[in-house]
């Protein structure tokens, strides 16, 4: 069980309606159903993953989140989750807007490109960073819109998106991000976890 999923679960109240966008093989949905008794759905682009989810009896539809979120009505979910997928979209801003349209709240997690190891990689080696969270090379990575914790934080401010919770995750620990410690957290955290609403 990924530590990240436990942090996401802690942000969610019991018995709510949840949509996991890019739900993979359904691990998070299953975890949330068991621990938070939520009514959880998923949308996933890879057939194999959809088949795995369906086989577990989970409610998952095959589809491209970039094009197919339109089918969900406004505020039809209490929470919409996007776990480490934002950077793979052609147009992340449209996706964020869709998450906030269909969800009362959204939980977005991002691999932090501002993490010091990532910065050092580029500084010392002069090559695109390859890390545990970002294991692909520049030529085959699905991650086409990398951002930092600071980027996402500022994006929300500029777009009047309310940051209910901003968490930095590093070395199995989470800590709160605020305007004062933003630069520090942007350097020290591997992952940013945000609970947002509009």
């Amino acid at each position: 069980m990924k530590q990240e999923f436990k942090i996401i679960a802690d942000l969610i109240e019991k018995n709510k309606r949840v949509l996991d966008v890019g739900c993979g093989d359904g691990t998070l949905i299953e975890f949330l159903k068991q621990n938070k008794e939520v009514d959880a759905r998923g949308i996933e682009i890879l057939k194999n993953n959809v088949q795995k989810s369906i086989s577990k009896g989970l409610i998952v539809i095959e589809g491209d989140a970039e094009k197919e979120l339109f089918q969900f009505p406004n505020k039809s979910f209490d929470y919409v989750i996007l776990s480490q997928t934002l950077q793979a979209f052609v147009n992340p801003e449209i996706v964020i807007n869709e998450l906030l349209r269909i969800g009362k709240k959204a939980i977005v997690t991002i691999p932090n490109f501002g993490y010091w190891k990532v910065r050092l990689d580029l500084l010392i080696k002069g090559t695109m960073p390859v890390t545990k969270n970002l294991p692909d090379e520049w030529y085959n990575t699905p991650n086409i819109h990398m951002c930092t914790i600071k980027d996402f934080f500022n994006f929300c401010k500029h777009r009047n998106i309310k940051l209910d919770k901003s968490l930095a995750f590093h070395d199995k620990r989470t800590s709160a991000i605020n305007s004062n410690n933003l630069n520090l957290k942007n350097l020290s955290a591997e992952l940013g976890i945000f609970l947002i609403e509009k």
């Binding site: 086989s55 577990k56 009896g57 409610i59 998952v60 009505p73």
Partner: protein, 372 residues
């Protein structure tokens, strides 16, 4: 036609008002069952058959002596497990395997009903089969499922009876028959009607059935059930038991011989008038129009859990049309899963040995049965 004396039947004494306005009484529904109903009566699965199917889903069909039409999916330990579930399948009204249809004898004239049989719809078929729930004293089915026209019946069933099935699995179908679907069906009907033996539907003598017309209809339809790649891979330009072209209109190519064979075996088991009536029912199927242009409204009152399946190479009921059903269900926050299965076997994929499909369906059904 078929010797249907040894077929299980119920006689429905409740009058049924058809969409055409006519009321039918005391009509037979032929059915078959597999597995056994448990004490809680919560393990029943109603399967709806497609255009040329019948109630003999699995095992050996006692009339044709061939494997049941869904033998790959239904049987002990299979996707629809007869060891666990009680499976019911009925012949649709309009059919020719024992249910009320155009080959029934009109007692007044002692001839077949032929075109005096009323035009029926998918809605009529579903309402007629609903009587089986009363017969078996089943309050709520565990599952309704079927492919193609069977899938259309699944959709209609849930729309008509929103609290009578726990899960619904419509496969390779549509909520509204497209112009292309209607066009292919019309081609088949015209082929039958162009056969002089058809005689406006009043054939009844074994020797004068419109076999030519019916077999051409079947040949044309069969092409629509396969994919271009599937055909190319299986037949290509291979010749039929000859080394070279014969410069004639014999079946030089294997694909020609195959289609002729498919046509010829079909006429032994299927009634031409039934083909007319059932294709008409499919063409009239438009659940979107039935619910005022909004498919979501067909399902507003249901708690039934849907799982919709389409196939990549199915161009007759393509993924996009299956997805429209998913979209309509999501629009009202209904419970819906969806997957498109990779297969080059075309529309027929749901009837064939497509392991990913069978495995996914099996796991979904079993997981849904365990949960609550």
């Amino acid at each position: 036609m078929n010797n249907t004396n040894n077929i299980k039947k119920i006689i429905v004494d409740k009058p049924l008002k058809l969409d055409c306005g006519k009321i039918i009484n005391n009509f037979p529904i032929a059915y078959e069952t597999y597995g056994s109903l448990n004490d809680k009566k919560d393990n029943a699965i109603l399967i709806f058959h497609a255009l040329t199917g019948d109630q003999f889903v699995s095992g050996i069909n006692p009339i044709t002596k061939k494997d049941g039409w869904w033998s790959y999916a239904v049987g002990p330990n299979k996707a629809i497990d007869t060891n666990k579930y009680f499976i019911i399948c009925a012949n649709v009204i309009g059919g020719c395997m024992g249910s009320y249809g155009p080959s029934d004898i009109d007692p007044k004239s002692n001839k077949i009903l032929g075109t005096n049989f009323p035009v029926i719809t998918i809605n009529d078929m579903v309402n007629a089969q609903y009587n089986l729930l009363d017969f078996f004293k089943i309050k709520k089915l565990f599952c309704v499922t079927g492919g193609s026209m069977g899938g259309m019946q699944v959709l209609q069933f849930v729309a008509n009876f929103p609290d009578k099935a726990k899960i619904a699995i419509p496969i390779a179908c549509t909520a509204s028959h497209s112009a292309q679907n209607i066009a292919f069906n019309e081609l088949g009907r015209q082929s039958i009607m162009a056969d002089t033996n058809w005689s406006n539907g009043n054939y009844s003598n074994e020797k004068s059935n419109p076999d030519k017309g019916l077999s051409v209809a079947r040949m044309a339809a069969h092409i629509t059930y396969l994919s271009k790649n599937g055909l190319q891979e299986k037949f290509g330009r291979k010749l039929q038991e000859r080394d070279d072209l014969k410069f004639s209109f014999d079946a030089d190519f294997q694909i020609e011989s195959y289609l002729r064979y498919q046509g010829s075996v079909f006429v032994d088991r299927f009634d031409a008038n039934s083909y007319l009536y059932i294709t008409r029912a499919m063409d009239y199927f438009d659940l979107i129009k039935q619910y005022g242009g909004n498919l979501s409204k067909a399902f507003t009152n249901t708690k039934t859990k849907f799982f919709i399946i389409s196939f990549t190479s199915d161009w007759l009921y393509p993924t996009s049309e299956n997805k429209d059903i998913v979209i309509a269900l999501n629009a009202i926050g209904a419970n819906v899963g969806f997957v498109e299965i990779e297969s080059d076997k075309g529309h027929d994929s749901f009837l064939l040995n497509v392991p990913k499909f069978l495995e996914t369906m099996k796991n979904y059904i079993n997981a849904s049965y365990i949960k609550d």
